[in-house]
């Protein structure tokens, strides 16, 4: 197999340009071409595997195809996941870049320096001397949403603050994660009956980790951030498919 087995748009255009004189024949030839899908690679790039073959072709989950298909198609299947041992003999690992980058991201989650209310004190306590979040790569609280990975919503979210907070969340570059710190952000908490608060921030933005408590201890935040790191590792390479927007449906 090689590139160009199936006719592409560019091949059809070239044929039309060279055979401009014989109009009827080219029209007939063009009508026989396959339908064109713009923007998509119509023929997969196939790279024969000359690097490595398993001794037992049936090993490792029933074996793998003898030739490595196009990397994007390979990435869409689950074949390359959860069995990193099979690639151990290779110098080059064919994988999506996000699979590797997310391993780095999981160990260096930079939160946004954004405190709304009481829980901000416990967040700062988790970052300073006694409970030092820096030990797990979580310290550098960035003051700009452009430079941060995690939004820790620390404190009650009121209806007036919801707009600026969602704007902050949308200003953060992908990939980004959200941690709901405290009862108020998890479900409304003690302000469930209030007229001016948002009953849980998952009504306005997606949440990855919920940390209950009023307020949670700093150890709770550290544990939640470690769980988030595990979540990033577990879902590595798949964050583009995540839903954006609130995770609670309307009228609940």
């Amino acid at each position: 197999m090689a590139v160009g087995d199936r006719p592409t748009k560019r091949a059809g255009e070239d044929a039309a340009a060279t055979a401009a004189g014989a109009a009827t024949e080219t029209k007939a030839a063009a009508s026989q071409l396959a339908p064109i899908t713009t923007g998509e690679l119509t023929a997969p790039i196939v790279v024969p595997n000359t690097l490595w073959q398993a001794v037992n072709p049936l090993a490792y989950d029933g074996g793998r195809p003898a030739e490595i298909t196009h990397l994007r198609e390979f990435g869409l299947t689950d074949a390359g996941r959860h069995d990193d041992g099979r690639w151990g003999g290779l110098q080059v690992i064919p994988t999506q870049a996000d699979n590797i980058l997310d391993l780095i991201r999981a160990n260096s989650l930079w939160p946004l320096l954004s405190g709304l209310a009481c829980c901000a004190f416990e967040m700062m306590s988790a970052a300073t001397s006694k409970n030092d979040m820096d030990r797990w790569g979580m310290f550098p609280f960035r003051a700009s949403p452009r430079q941060s990975d995690v939004l820790i919503v620390a404190g009650t979210l009121t209806t007036k603050m919801a707009g600026p907070l969602v704007r902050l969340w949308e200003e953060m570059p992908e990939p980004k994660w959200c941690v709901a710190l405290g009862d108020c952000t998890v479900s409304g908490g003690r302000y469930k009956r209030s007229y001016s608060t948002v009953q849980g921030i998952d009504r306005v933005m997606p949440v990855d980790v919920y940390i209950p408590g009023c307020p949670p201890r700093p150890e709770g935040l550290i544990y939640g951030m470690m769980q988030l790191g595990q979540l990033v590792k577990d879902q590595r390479g798949h964050w583009p498919e995540r839903e954006i927007g609130p995770t609670v449906p309307d009228k609940i």
Partner: protein, 421 residues
């Protein structure tokens, strides 16, 4: 149930057709005249008062700068719209309400026991004082006598929290002016104090410890052991921590002479607490309107005359030393006895009204409670000192440089939970 269309970040299946733009495309601005009103200031909404119209009318060479509600140095969600001329502040429009949680209304719908829990998150840096104000008003309303041991435990725990709050103030003031180190030392003290209070009350920040007629629990071994350890080094450690800033020339030069508030201005705006005492008025609720066992305790009311940011900082550091003295006396004079008065389970005070005020770390924390004879307060009005202190900001900032904004606002020590309620 209506379903929301699911939006994802994944690549679209088909790229949209390429758009060819020509010169007659109206979306392309070619040599279009940029009208001057693009640069006219637009207020966030139609101006409603003369003051707003005056503020949002921009003069020659002036510009607006929006500070907050998300800003690392605004102590939460304070928003200041600054009108600048060059680097000099001309006018300030503070925008509040980003943390309005409707606490007063919730308190009016709770019974008297639950109110104590609901007022906790107002002054979240020092929650016991807000509880104390509510409890004081309710005790006046119901004519309850508190056992002396409970009063001493209240003073002991509250003064510990005052030290914690003032130590945090020192760290935040330095942080807002660009120094990271003091806050690391502040949080060492704060974490130790809240841990020992957690041994006493069960919570680190929102304690729910005071009760109408006493406190929730007696002193226990872990609290006393931690307190003893901490008291053995508290005075020395306080001197070491204040030395970080007092002997720092950059800090002292930036804070001295900035945001000067004279005593007339402070009295006119109802400023209380350390901010008032830094302006030369020796007003302290513990002395002026004594409550609890403060008349039996020996402490000074530190006062300064300068009224600038440095004086407000130094006043609070003096108060830490006085608080250590008070804690020492509490431990020496702690009486035996019960920690709760005998009260019915359902509290229904006679119709009436009561005002309870305590000296919090930021000033006079007051509660005005009106009873209509039911088990819930008819009206529960909260007077918060941070709100009064913040009212001075539009009068302190103009004339100063932009870089001094945080040196002034932070020295007033506002807590947005109390301001927005």
């Amino acid at each position: 149930m209506p379903t929301r269309p699911v939006r994802t970040n994944s690549r679209p299946k088909q790229r949209p057709p390429e758009q060819h733009r020509s010169e007659d495309d109206p979306r392309i601005m070619l040599d279009r005249e940029v009208s001057a009103d693009l640069y006219e200031p637009i207020p966030p909404y139609p101006t409603r008062t003369e003051r707003e119209a005056e503020f949002y009318t921009i003069g020659d060479g002036e510009m607006f700068l929006n500070l907050g509600p998300q800003h690392p140095a605004t102590h939460g969600v304070l928003r200041l719209v600054l009108k600048l001329s060059g680097e000099q502040i001309v006018d300030v429009d503070p925008v509040l309400g980003y943390l309005h949680r409707g606490v007063e209304k919730i308190c009016e719908n709770s019974d008297y026991y639950h109110v104590i829990d609901q007022v906790d998150p107002l002054e979240y840096a020092s929650a016991l004082f807000q509880e104390w104000a509510a409890v004081l008003a309710f005790e006046k309303l119901m004519d309850v006598e508190v056992p002396p041991r409970a009063e001493y435990i209240r003073v002991l725990s509250a003064e510990l929290l005052r030290i914690s709050s003032h130590t945090l103030f020192m760290g935040f003031l330095a942080l807002d002016m660009g120094g990271l180190t003091p806050i690391l030392y502040s949080f060492i003290e704060r974490d130790e104090i809240v841990e020992m209070l957690a041994a006493l009350t069960g919570a680190r920040m929102l304690f729910n410890y005071f009760r109408i007629g006493g406190v929730n629990g007696d002193l226990n071994h872990e609290f006393m052991s931690r307190l003893g350890d901490w008291m053995s080094r508290a005075a020395k450690q306080t001197e070491a921590n204040t030395g970080l800033l007092n002997e720092n020339e950059i800090f002292v030069r930036r804070a001295r002479g900035v945001g000067v508030m004279d005593r007339e201005m402070a009295l006119r705006f109802g400023v209380t607490g350390g901010n008032l005492r830094a302006s030369g008025v020796p007003f302290d609720v513990r002395r002026a309107h004594p409550y609890s066992v403060y008349p039996q305790l020996d402490f000074n009311v530190p006062t300064r005359l300068e009224g600038d940011s440095l004086a407000r900082y130094l006043i609070r550091m003096d108060e830490v030393r006085e608080s250590i003295k008070i804690i020492d006396q509490c431990l020496n004079n702690m009486p035996d006895g019960p920690v709760m008065a005998k009260l019915p389970r359902l509290l229904r005070p006679h119709p009436g009204r009561a005002w309870g005020a305590v000296e919090g770390p930021r000033g006079m924390l007051g509660v005005y409670a009106i009873s209509d004879g039911t088990d819930q307060p008819f009206r529960f009005r909260i007077h918060d000192p941070s709100f009064m202190n913040l009212e001075v900001v539009p009068h302190l900032l103009p004339g100063n440089l932009l870089a001094d904004t945080m040196a002034i606002v932070s020295s007033l020590d506002p807590i947005m939970g109390g301001i927005d309620k």
